[in-house]
Symmetry: C2
Subunit: 206 residues, 2 copies
DNA sequence: TGATTTTTGTACCAATCGGTACGGAACACA
DNA sequence: TGTGTTCCGTACCGATTGGTACAAAAATCA
């Protein structure tokens, strides 16, 4: 009879165990980058919020740029789920309206920093942060592609006239969402953003 | 007969004359802040672009924050004149359309950095730059007030129905302009911004 | 218990940050 | 030719930046 190796969920590697939860630390780092942007977030502020010291940070997450990338992944994974949910609405018009409304809610969620990490994380920065800036632009574009696909589908299904430019319509709503992010970062209230959403929906092709 | 003192345009103060043109230097500083934002612009990059050294900078413009304020004034004075011009159109609808179109042009002017200084100058930053962030938000708001006044006038003149919320409409278009600024900063073409403008005008109250 | 492996805290690194002291250079005026 | 005044260039300041070396600590395994 061979020895039976129990499958343990966590094989518990040898060596001293971590004294912190990497996921909690990542979320703490997210808040700092969210509030201060990539350049404005110093390692001191990060380690302070994460409750760890620099060697632990580097061993677990890599350097500042790698940490930011992991934070951006974490942000998309945990804070932007409402986008795909909204786009799953049966009607494209309702999908877009719900997308905008929930964006207004997310941008003014009192439990989170103001604005959108993907917009204000690195909009203008020094040369050495240029790669982060480009990365955020690419990540923002995937959202626009998602919306564009949804509108093309609406066109195939006949909800949207074939005469409208679906890509341009997606670009329009995404541009508005980024403007809402700027407003929110400057302190706009949920009510103000909701008013903007209502007016923006008037541009929906009839 | 008393001695006649000639009124000279420039009294030529005593002491060694400046070896640079403060206005040219201010414009060079503007480009740096415009591209890199307030925090991303180091004094080294600024003095390098301005062609002067730090003591001259401090003697002429004050510290970094004061320099940025003077740069913001310079920006508004020399780069945002089209706003008041557009709003002077006799028809409010034409005024807004022209405002958006010329914004798209200004944001993609190849002779200037991308985006809007008032948006990307300090959208998210470290604590010590928070006052700059608030200042930019206030400066942006004056533009919104200008547009709001123009729309209220249109309401008084009967061009805009009394039922619409003029402030909210101004907020909507300003939000869109800020979104356009973000897009432009990420490399959007003039054509793409023009498409957005066209769709945005569909939201004009009928 | 001892050997191995990994994490932790401290203390440090060179580079850069924003900002300034100071001596000499360049002008107007006498 | 002074003399007063302003500006320029260098060289420097303390603080902070992102990033690391190193040894003690804490766990597993034998």
């Amino acid at each position: 009879m061979g020895k039976v190796t129990l499958l343990r969920k966590k094989p518990l590697p040898p060596g001293r165990p971590k004294a912190f939860d990497p996921d909690k630390a990542l979320d703490a780092a997210l808040r700092v980058f969210w509030e201060k942007g990539y350049e404005g977030a110093s390692l001191a502020a990060l380690t302070d919020a994460m409750g760890i010291n620099k060697p632990s940070l580097y061993a677990t997450f890599g350097d500042k740029a790698e940490l930011f990338r992991k934070v951006a992944d974490h942000y998309i994974r945990t804070r932007t789920g409402f986008i795909a949910e909204a786009l799953a609405e049966p009607s494209a018009r309702e999908a877009v309206k719900r997308l905008l409304i929930e964006t207004a809610e997310a941008l003014t969620n009192p439990r989170n920093p103001r604005g959108c990490l993907l917009v204000q994380g690195a909009l203008a920065c020094g040369d050495e942060s240029d790669c982060i800036k480009k990365e955020l632009a690419m990540r923002r574009e995937t959202g626009e592609l998602l919306l564009g696909e949804r509108l093309l589908r609406a066109q195939r299904e006949g909800e949207l006239p074939a005469s409208v430019d679906a890509k341009a319509l997606a670009s329009y709503y995404m541009t508005l969402m980024r403007g809402m992010s700027v407003e929110s970062s400057a302190g706009a209230t949920r009510r103000e953003l909701q008013n903007v959403v209502e007016l923006a929906m008037n541009a929906w092709p009839s």
